[in-house]
Every structure is written in C-alpha cells, then in structure tokens.
Symmetry: C2
Subunit: 379 residues, 2 copies
Amino acid sequence: MKDFVFYNPTQIVFGEGKTSEIGKYLQGKKCLFLYGSGSIKRNGIYDRVVESLKKHDVKFVEKSGVKPNPVLSFVYEAIDTARKEQVDCILAVGGGSVIDTAKAVAAGFYYNGDVWDFFVDKAKITKALPIYVVLTLSATASEMNSGAVITNESTKQKFNIQAVSLFPKVSILDPTNTYTVPHNQVANGSVDAIVHLLEGYFTKSYPNTPIQDGFVETLVKTIIATTKKILENPKDYDARANFMWSATLALNGLTTAGIGNYEFPNHMMGHSLSALYDIAHGASLSIVFPAWLKYNESNISKRLASFGKAVFGKTNSKDTITAFEEYFNEIGAPIRLKEVNIDKADIDKIAENAVSLATKWGLKTYTKEVIAKILELAA
Amino acid sequence: MKDFVFYNPTQIVFGEGKTSEIGKYLQGKKCLFLYGSGSIKRNGIYDRVVESLKKHDVKFVEKSGVKPNPVLSFVYEAIDTARKEQVDCILAVGGGSVIDTAKAVAAGFYYNGDVWDFFVDKAKITKALPIYVVLTLSATASEMNSGAVITNESTKQKFNIQAVSLFPKVSILDPTNTYTVPHNQVANGSVDAIVHLLEGYFTKSYPNTPIQDGFVETLVKTIIATTKKILENPKDYDARANFMWSATLALNGLTTAGIGNYEFPNHMMGHSLSALYDIAHGASLSIVFPAWLKYNESNISKRLASFGKAVFGKTNSKDTITAFEEYFNEIGAPIRLKEVNIDKADIDKIAENAVSLATKWGLKTYTKEVIAKILELAA
C-alpha cells in the first residue's frame, strides 16, 4: 500500500422518500436552488424539495437551466444571482452537471477575481458556500467528492477543480428519483462510473493492492449487472439502488486510496470530445476507453486478464477488451467516433485540444502523437 | 439496498513515518495524551509523538496504563486529570483499548453525572472533546468509527457507547508502528476484524447486497492472507499495511451501510467471556464464532457456502466452518473454552451475564438457554 490521506465528510442519506427530508438537513437560511432543464418539475421531485424547504423555513432563490457539460457562462450568472440574493448555501438538485455547477458557484461566491482562475491554477479555493445535493442521475460521484468539471465555451476547455471545501455537506440518494432517467443517460452513467473505477485500476503505480482491486471488481460487476436490469425494467428499485451506490463509491476516494499515483487518460481525451462536439461524457468514454485498452494492451495484459476473469469470466486480455466493447454495444453506448458523427479527419484537432488538459494533469507520455494514435483505434 | 445514513468524517493519514506528523494535524493547545503499558516508550513511537507535539507547540499531560479490556475506573481517573489540567483535546496512542478509553473520557469530560450513564442509556452524548489517534494495533477499527466499549469492573458489564462526536478527527495509520505487535495480538486482531465483517454478513435483514458482500469477502480474504504473512515476517510492510487498512474498513460503517438490520451476537457473547475472565477480545471471538456458525448452520447454509467459495475455495457450509476453525488454529487463536481454561460448568454463569447485553442490544432470540446451547458447542 502506498501512503494516502483519506477524508470524505459528506453525509449520505440513502433511501426511497428521503428527498422530502432535504429541508431537515439544510443548515442555512436562504439557498440558491440550482437545477437543470426542468425534468424535476415533471417528475415531482421539484415539488417534494420545495415542500420540504418550506416546512423547515429555508428560503430559496431558483436558478434553472444547467446543461450537460455545464458551462462557465452559466456559472458566472449563478454567482451573480447568489451574491445579489445573499444566499448562505447552495442546493443542487440534479446529476453531475448541476452539482459541478454548484461547486464552481460555491467557490466563486467568495472570490473577487474570475472563477476560471481556479480551473487554470491561477488561484486556490480556500472557502466555499456549503453545498447540499438531491441526486437525480447516477454517474459522476460528484455527490460524494470534492471535484467539479466545467467547460469554458470561449476557450473550448473542459477543466476541473478540487478542494476540501467542495465536498457536499449532505447528499440525498433516493433511487426512485432516477426511475425516469432515459436509457441513453443510464448507459452514459454506467460507462462513466466504470471508467472512473478503471482509470485507477489500470494506471496505478503501486503493485500490491488487493483491497482496492477487490472493491473495483465488485463495483464494476455490480454496475454491469444492474445497468442491464435497469434497461429492462426502469423501476427495479434494487437495481437502481445498487447502481446508485456503486456509482457514488466509484469516485469518492475509496478505491484509489493507497494505489499510489494514477492517471485519468480516458477522461483527458473524453473531455476534449465533449468540449469540441458537446457529446455526452459517458459516450465520449465508451469510445475512448476500448481504444486506450488496445493501445496499452501489451503493458497491462496480465491485469486485463485477471480483471476479465473476475468480472467477465474471460481468461485473456483480448477477450476482456472485447467483453467491454460488447457490453457497451449491448447498452447502446457508442464505441467508435463515427457513431457520434466525428470524422477521422478531426483526430488531429481533437489531439491538439486534449494535449492542453494532458499538460494540466501532468500526463507527460500523452503527446499529441500518442493521443492521435489512440483515437485512431477508435476510428 | 435498505435505507441508510453514511457519515464518517475521520481523516485517515496513512503511511510509514506519518507518526511524526501528528502535531501538524492536532487542532488544540493542550491535550490529554493517553497510552497503554508503555510499549510505545520501548519502540520509539512515544519519542516521535512527543517531538512532533513540541514542534507544533501542543502542550500535553500524560496518562498511561490503559489495559486491554479497558476499565471504567481508569476512565474516571482520566476524566479527573483532563478537567484538572484543562485540556482541550485527547490524543490516543495505542489500539482499541486506548482509543475507546479516549472516547469515554472525551464524552465524560463535559458531563456532570456518572459517565457510565451513557453506557446504560441513562444519558445521551451530545458533546465531546476532539480525539486524535496514532494507531499502534490493528483490530477494533475504533480509529475510524464512533463507538467505544468499556468494562465496568464492579458490575462485570462490558458495554458500549456510540455518538457522532466520538469520531476521531484524525487518525494516523503508520504500518511500521505495528512491527513489534506480538503474534498473539496479531491473531486476536485478525479474528476481531474478521468477525466484525461477518456479524453483519451473516445476520443482515436485506437479501440483495452485492456491493457489501463483495467488500466483505475482499476484506476477509485480505486479512487472512496478510495475517499469515505477518506471522511469518513481522516486518512485511505491505502485509502490515493491507492488514491495517482492512481492519479499519471492517468496522467503519462501509460494509454495513444498506444491509438493513443486523446483529452482533458473537460480540455479545464474547464480551461476557472478557468481562468475566479478562480474556482478550479476539480470543473470545475465535471461541464463540465457530460455535455460533454451527448453531445457525441450517439457517445460513447457502450464504456460508457462497462465502466459503469466494474466500476459502470451499463448496459447502460445513467445510466453510471447518476452514474457519483451521484458520484460527493455524494462527494460534483458541477455538474451545477449555483452551482458555474456562470450565464447561461455567456456561450457565456466562449465559446469565451475556443476557444483560443481549437485552441492551435488543437481541430477543438470545435467551439464556440459547446462549448456553451455543457455548456448549464451544466446550
């Protein structure tokens, strides 16, 4: 085991009906209530949240319209609103996009400069508004970690921040809130959570990590099994619940604690696809990940085989990669660039964009040429 | 998945040499420095802690002499010292006994009545001194949970408390601190951690828990494998490290979140053996657990078989129970009452004592007769 610090103070309140308890947990007098396109108004979540806030005398100001691949311009607007309305906390009702927006706003609220400074390492986050979450889409684990990813539309950069003050105080995980999540978003969430787990699993620097390996294999197996069940029966409570908790545990620090250095190359490349073409994060990963595995197969063949045995019942690295592609196919996630209408001729442009994030993340082996070679395997 | 609340704000600082950083993490001006028999003076841990406290200008008053199966009279004394010296935090350097004592003192410090009131549910813990830990013995997971167990010598009761304010703020987990832990204590810790994991695994009320099952199986496998390595080579860093983190994760709330109601019948019976005969906690469990499995075999045979397959490579419940006994034997942990010189004739007396804890914990099926029957299987 390699040295690590593990700290995760987010309180998880898990179960059917817990949405109606959000007001009880919210330690604030007036919150900025962030949400997305308004699906929460159609499925009743909005009403349950508002009722609970009123019951517990929490005032709120609404700001809706957060989009997938959330953008910086919206963050600016929301910071303005938060300041004008003098809120003392943020309530994010949604998935990763809404929660990540909440985190950027929470950090920007107290900062006099441009909030983008935090993303390009020009400034450090030292203080943030307290964040509360009602999760409606399982994928990013933002509900139980301290990171956020925002796209700067003008620079075409999808960059991240991370700070202890960005851990949500309380996150409500009510599996029934995800009953109406459409198939393609379930698939995207499934891919995202799996790749979160496997970035560390396949790139870690420390060899002997039986605890983390077992946890990752357990979670990937559970995610694959429950995704299939959800796609068959969207109201399978147990499947939704196990999927939800797995996705949260997939990036809350648990499975990477002690594995040494690790990298996020698939996210690095996927973020460029999303920044340039606005394709869903999960879809970008289902395209990039098999290609990345193929490019690295000779270096990680033993590990691919042992993972394949534990999760897919396969015995060698090639079959394991095929099993991933078959699984992604089965759930309707794209595995080639052309499936999302990206032309092979664009690879150079994508690689160019990806390199800036590779540099920010210190991924030195990922030159423009290497990235292009990997993307060609997805063509 | 069953509804749950998961909250664990303890910060874990893991790695070789981290003991020397304790002063940096300690947010207090004067702490009560608790430790055991003084082994920390012989192996150098004491010097490293004191040096770090001095470096960071943290004053301290020492109180040593915490014993295994820590007692209430010592807690009283330590509360007196803490008040007299006006400390503002507690530093526990030791294993579960020292940490549990720290928790009882932390809670008692602010309470005007008898601290034992908390143990017999006459009063609720609402406030406690902040607790910091340097772990020297892996077993109880007290370094990352909110519970504590203390023995009242006059009433012969080994009872527990639990409160959010009792989570340690920071726990240093430095595997090299356990290099000098003697074989029998390694074995006891191994048994304790395994039974922590399996009490929930075999008594849970909710059926479909693939995440928690996989985590438990991973941790038990890791504990068994690393215990054997440690007994062969006490300075095997990786074995000590994996054992240490496994034991912490074994009772920090992770593996029981979502499994519904569960019981601690083996701890209930084990606590009586320790309260009456002052035998080590782990030894009490290695005696009681196989007997409990035998008593319940017909009810949990499927689950015993699937656990046996995952962990021991066995295919039926009987072989799984035998595998436990063989493992306990191999590491020198007792599996029969006579091995710790407890006479079969005492079973009635032990059952009588155990029933009071069964009542406190709401274990209604554990009448005196049932407990006696189980203990007879350990005779």
